[in-house]
Symmetry: C2
Subunit: 267 residues, 2 copies
């Protein structure tokens, strides 16, 4: 359900989430950042960095621990993900974007208290300092966009009580897109190294160009869509249902207008 | 020489540099951040974090290397200082400040291209990715201050060609204070764990309350002021000579108006 009246004029905002292999391949990353910089109007970049975090954890003698594809974030792991996401990856993205005339500013949810979360309630699994988002303070983010700055969010939030938290980057992108739909007509793109949602993970040509929610439920029941794609698509539908104008799951190359658009989601 | 005409009204801005033991003592840090939050008007916090960086370097199997009190920053060390300063320390300061109703935003010089530097020219010593500041883009920083945000700068700059650089935090504080003196009447405080400039390092009561440049030259020649205090005081005089209204070297407790002011510098 789209809650936003179409009669109100809202300027465009593009929210791009990058992750997967893109962050670890310098040549691809450079191309993606060039394409991102050329997007007109207000824009926000969101990134993860799990692979690099796991590398650094191992060098520091901490064994990365994942359950159901999610990181278990004990206190030492929280320190490392903060260093890797908010420090190493975020600031290297920011300095690269400046060379492309994109006035970027690297943020966590702690900055300006922009994304407030709570430590995940322990049910079956104790994920430690994993953060589930409560509030996006979109006024603060809009203040940055209004003066022409481009926020670059890493996947760290906080509880507004002095504790940083580790939050999935897809979820952050979705929540930002929803919150900013109040003021903007938002296009959200989840970019990775595939051309979109594949019906056969071994066949790059099996992209679904338009995915309805009914189709999605069917593909889940047949097992054609499974594992890590499920939370990603759920985040995409949360965005659409929260009032985001258009949502795509696509290759990072699709930031270039000449490239294939990827999978467009519809309710 | 003060270049700023005293007839032009400039609003106050306080620039605070914290370092030394303050960052590693939770109780003192909490008090300092409370006092900082209560400073009225525009303010900026600048921090280092060398001790923590050296700890993390060692855990990662990299031996910290210092020459003349300055860090030699090879490529792996640059990654670690970026992680520690811009990630771990900066974002923990920012989340703590939010709990004190200070709308802080953590930055490096790469963010908004706010502090542009060049890789230090090799003369006697190759300091690696050490950055000497060329330009402060004060318009971008002022845009943040204008909407009531409080920048928290760590000691990372960049060359605006995609390379992050490691820059001394005292130097950053001094350069920010000078650049912003164009628009603000700036008070700059270099805060550490001593009550000010001591004439006898073993006597905490030997604080100089007012230090003139002539006295400073004399104390240097007698050896009463030496080692790490020299670059700190040089940074302080650079600030005063660049148009900063007032400069102090003081205990971090002096952010509380009831505490001793520390050493005030005069030209």
């Amino acid at each position: 359900m789209n809650h936003k009246p179409s009669t109100v004029h809202r300027p465009p905002l593009t929210v791009i989430k990058i992750g997967g292999n893109i962050l670890t391949n310098d040549a691809i990353l450079d191309e993606v950042l060039s394409d991102f910089s050329e997007i007109e109007g207000a824009k926000i970049l969101v990134h993860g960095g799990g692979r690099k975090a796991s590398e650094v954890l191992k060098i520091m003698g901490i064994e990365p621990k994942m359950i159901n594809g999610r990181r278990v974030t004990d206190a030492p792991t929280m320190e490392v993900v903060t260093m890797v996401y908010a420090g190493l990856i975020n600031k290297n993205l920011v300095t690269k974007l400046q060379t492309k005339n994109c006035k970027s500013i690297g943020l966590t949810g702690a900055d300006l208290n922009s994304i407030q979360a709570h430590k995940r309630i322990v049910e079956d699994v104790d994920y430690g300092f994993a953060g589930d988002i409560d509030v996006i303070n979109s006024g603060e983010i809009k203040a940055l966009l209004d003066v022409g700055f481009t926020p670059v969010f890493c996947s760290i939030t906080h509880d507004n009580k002095g504790q940083l938290l580790n939050t999935n980057a897809d979820t952050i992108a979705s929540a930002l897109a929803v919150a900013l739909s109040e003021n903007y007509e938002v296009t959200l793109r989840f970019c990775f190294e595939k051309d979109g949602v594949l019906l056969d993970v071994n066949d790059d040509d099996s992209v679904v160009e338009m995915l309805s929610k009914t189709d999605y439920e069917n593909y889940k029941s047949t097992g054609q869509i499974y594992a890590g794609m499920i939370p990603k698509i759920d985040n995409a539908y949360n965005a659409l249902e929260g009032g985001v104008h258009e949502v795509f799951i696509c290759h990072a190359k699709s930031l270039n207008a000449d490239y294939f658009d990827g999978t467009k989601l519809k309710i």
